[in-house]
Amino acid sequence: MRLDIQHIRELFPILHQEVNGKPLVYLDNAATTQKPKQVIDALVNYYELDNSNIHRGAHTLADRATRYYENTRTSIKAFVNALETEEIIFTKGTTESINLVAATFGRKFIGKGDEIIISTLEHHSNIVPWQLLCEEKGAVLKVIPINDEGEIIFEAFEKLLTEKTKLVSVVHVSNALGTINPVKAIIESAHKAGAKVLLDGAQSSSHFKVDVQELNCDFFAFSAHKIYGPTGMGVLYGKRELLEAIPPFQGGGEMIKEVTFEKTTFNDIPFKFEAGTPNIADVIAFDKALTFVNELGKENILMHEDTLLEYATDKLSTIKGFIPIGTAKEKVSVLSFLINGMHPFDVGMMLDAAGIAVRTGHHCTQPLMNRLNIEGTVRASFSVYNTMEEIDRLYDSIRKIAKLKNK
């Protein structure tokens, strides 16, 4: 189904403004997406009508807030097709979800000499927690190499797997290049070797259908703010038997069954991992973002984003001095590039002056940039509310900028 993009744009108040005297073109969606009116309204409504602490109050507001809060969990279960609602844990975001696994699964199952595998494409938040863990435990971090197109070398990955491999933690879609990793095959091989798999779904979850049962991943982490939802809210999906086998993350209220000074027993999953008063408002508002996505249909969103990416890639490739970075066969929504003779910071600043928001720099993937022998890129990333006209604006500006050094 073809989406009515103009109608969709109407739902996003932020898009209708001028930046530096020009209509805003927002192409920094891989960093965070904008929020539709329904999500913003849900935040206001919560504080105006329903605010109260959840899971413990004996009054009507508390009951209402708890119900809405748990409704989001049910929606997320459907969104990633988890088997059970209890397998959905609320966190602050992808970063916290990954750190949670490192702190709990890592504490229990990673020992001296054990191996963890990540890839060259990882975001820092899927590198640093494992480095910290490996240092603490005397474990070994191994890295899957990539080719010049920005694709994982699968044969090299299989060679890295040993009987000591306890965990493979890889990004589903690269935020810097847009590469879609062959995660199904990675999961199968890892499981054969006896390792568990965590997928960093920060970028994939917004673009295409994720089915954690079909993928058979053990953990899946993502952030609400990249799927039209609020910041400060994210998800960790984990298989029940794993979540039950690992220790709690933080200690405090909510996560306990009974506390005495001698011994504390822990609550059942998912609450075992949700200590303290959670981010109630943002969780509740995220439900509206999911409804927004579901009503449009992920396959329709993807079709539109693919059309934009293809149009942008083809059009910008005609510009003298345009150098695409990351040319994987399987890609989504991200166009990373350099302009010959120019620093990405300068390009980003000139685009900003023209009202076009992109991201420049290393995109929290410094090891990837080192592998590609570059300092950073300019990254345009597309979302459901972007239009062909906006890409024309990007093209016009880039052509003008590139001309400065490519006559």
Binding site: N20, G21, M342, H343, F345, D346, M349, M350, D352, A353, A354, E375, L404
Partner: protein, 144 residues
């Protein structure tokens, strides 16, 4: 040679002519960067890199006829443009004048709005380092 404030006033006038259009202002700053005097390759050292800038900035100095000569470079063109403005104001000036100067042109042309907060921090780091050099020369010349 004109004094620091005369040069600042010239710069303010030049930017006034550009008007409010951010795009042309940025292009103008980049053009200024292209005219920067070539930086000596043997001074492109780790020690000469200014900390606190997002872009790489190298800064070195010489002391001639009781004045400080600044030479600088950057890996980004816009930063080069900003450097060229600072050099135009400070290079060839006496340490005392540099130390006691008030760089009002930066606020006056609304540089913070033009280059954003990260680059403004970098610019502040550059100015601080230039004043530090001036202070060092002042101390040295007084000791003589």
């Amino acid at each position: 040679m004109s004094d620091i404030n005369t040069i600042q006033n010239e710069i303010i006038e030049e930017f006034e002519i550009l008007g409010d259009d951010k795009e042309s202002t940025i292009y103008y700053i980049m053009e200024l960067g292209e005219k920067l005097v070539a930086y000596p390759e043997n001074e492109r050292t780790e020690d000469n890199i200014i900390k606190g800038c997002q872009s790489k900035v190298w800064l070195t100095t010489a002391y001639e006829n009781d004045t400080v000569i600044f030479l600088a470079d950057s890996n980004t063109d816009i930063t080069k443009g900003l450097i060229s403005l600072l050099i135009r104001v400070y290079s060839g000036k006496k340490p005392d004048d540099i130390i006691n100067s008030d760089l009002y042109f930066i606020d006056k042309i609304g540089m913070g709005n033009i280059i954003g907060s990260q680059r403004s921090n970098g610019l502040a780091a550059m100015i601080k380092q230039m004043k530090r050099y001036a202070l060092a020369y002042q101390t040295k010349s007084k000791a003589l």
